[in-house]
Amino acid sequence: MHVDFEAGLARAGARIDGTWSNLRFFVSRHPLGAVGAVIMAVFVLAAIFAGAITTHDPLQTNASISLAPPSAQHWLGADFMGRDVFSRIVYGARISLAVGLGSTLLGCILGVALGLTSGYLGGWVDLVVQRVVDILQALPLLVLALVMAASLGPSLQNTIIAIAIPLIPYAARVVRSNTLTLREQPFVEAAKAVGMSELRIALRHVLPNTLAPLIVLATAQLGAAILTEASLSFLGLGIPEPHPSWGRMLSESAAEYVRTAPWLVIFPGVAISLTVFGTNLLGDALRDILDPRQRG
């Protein structure tokens, strides 16, 4: 299954990147999307190479620079405990990336599994799964994530789970509706006729054909996941100290210095907004390319 899934991804991906000319076409056709792609690339690179980019240890405390304003040594200033804000924001990209990708992937995989089963098998399975999806969707994402995060306790892994679960129904919906139409397609009938197993048909033929809308959805959810993590951490329920989560940086201690050290409030918020902005720009462009029906 793994291989098939990746092959499907690659096939879908081949349409957007690959050769230079394709890339140039993408940039000229979707300038905003290209900007989004650049923002996302910077974000991902910052997360991967955080150690090389940063000037300071993000956890190192230093009394002498407590609440120091931005300077040549500390580009974005220092926080209450004298930790370098720039370094913390760069390392924070790792956490946002981990939570964003982790919960989106987890939510999508579970959603795909549910949607495929539901759409392909139909009948009472479909009915039950649809109710579960309805139930999950009837609660605001943040409310569900809030209760989940509180019950699981604050940690990176638990935050990913708490955000992933409320995301399940969205992927399930998309996959199910696509599966319903695909099920009736001639090539599926043909596969059945030659005696292919149901599972194989679902994974080999149905799944790859729902990838395009799924990628569009996942990009949108990446942004939603990052925003939800920020909100949870802001409320003290997400990523615990001393990890430099952007939402956590904005929480209590930072809010206390709104007046005396505004950089503690401004920069982490800019980091969140810019990253989510990147996912949104890229998501819009991807939607135009992959899923023209939903063009907005």
Binding site: L139, P140, A230, L250, V265, V276, F277
Partner: protein, 315 residues
């Protein structure tokens, strides 16, 4: 139509029932209960006294029994007692509802007032610099955490006026109230307005391409009349959609915004009640939110069916 209505209604009841089970079980999985929190605040760890509290609150009963007691009470109109204040849960929740409702209504009004006109302008001026600017703006609206926007507004307010628009006293007049709530409402509503703008724009674009608009134009209707009268009337559908989608998001946004602006509404109360493991308050509050979201979506679906008959038959 009646059959459709009945089907949707029964589905709604099933969904609400499912939510009640999930939220109930989820809460009981939370580490620590009210007894732990009470003891925690007093720095005590005597297990015998703790069990005494659990017995008094009925927390030692099996979960299905507790659930049956909750649902049974709810049917009779009894929502139980807050563990923390020992007062009826309904008395704790009820006074907060109008506060959050006003905030949500203002936020929605703000988003409509900002989102719809900008969406129309953006569509009419499609692919101009203005269109691009508005689209980038709306995307940035979708990208900013509402609480951060709230913090920025607070900072700006303090810098400009030296005062702070947060809740310290109950407002004394309608004008006071409007002033107090309009800023947090704007912080929350900005996001919805961005979404609304995008949807209005795409709906407008579609409508502008339709035959009857061309007919109207050819009949000599002014550009203005065409754009704002004919086209906008047909863009009502996305508005309805947005309200459906945003009901859930709005509540999410309010949770953090009420915290930032110190507004004693439902959303902030929920966070506090989760912290205290005040099950009767949390489960009833979450149910209240779920009922609102589900009912709003139900109404949206009905409006859809009325506005666009194709949907009714497709179902």
């Amino acid at each position: 139509m009646l059959g459709y209505l009945a089907r949707r209604f029964s589905l709604m009841i099933v969904t609400l029932f499912g939510i009640s089970v999930i939220i109930f079980v989820l809460l009981r999985l939370l580490p620590g209960n009210i007894a732990d929190i009470l003891f925690d605040s007093a720095g005590l760890i005597n297990p015998a006294e703790k069990q005494q509290i659990e017995r008094e609150l009925g927390l030692d009963r099996p979960i299905p029994v507790q659930y049956a007691a909750w649902i049974g009470g709810m049917i009779e109109g009894d929502l139980g007692y807050s563990y923390k204040t020992e007062r009826p849960a309904i008395e704790e929740i009820a006074p907060r509802i109008p506060i959050t409702a006003k905030l949500a209504a203002l936020a929605l009004a703000f988003s409509v007032l900002l989102g719809v006109p900008l969406g129309v302008v953006s569509a009419v001026r499609q692919n101009t610099a203005l269109d691009y600017l508005l689209r980038v703006l709306s995307l940035s609206g979708l990208s900013m955490p509402a609480f951060w926007l709230g913090l920025l507004i607070l900072m700006a307010f303090v810098a400009a006026f030296g005062t702070i628009p947060i809740y310290t006293d109950p407002p004394k007049s309608v004008w006071d109230e409007l002033l107090l709530y309009s800023i947090p409402a704007a912080a929350v509503g900005f996001r919805s307005s961005a979404l609304l703008m995008r949807l209005t724009r795409s709906a407008m674009l579609e409508v502008l391409r339709q035959d009857y608009i061309r007919t109207a134009r050819s009949k000599g209707a002014s550009e203005r009349t065409v754009n704002y009268h004919h086209a906008l009337r047909n863009a009502v559908l996305p508005l309805v959609t947005v309200i459906g989608i945003e009901a859930a998001f709005l509540i999410g946004g309010l949770i953090v915004t009420e915290t930032v602006f110190n507004i004693p509404g439902v959303a902030r109360f929920l966070v506090e009640a989760i912290r205290w493991r005040d099950y009767p308050v949390v489960q009833n509050l979450v149910m209240l939110i779920a009922v609102i979201v589900v009912v709003v979506n139900f109404i949206v679906d009905l409006l859809y069916a009325v506005l666009d008959p194709r949907i009714r038959y497709a179902n």
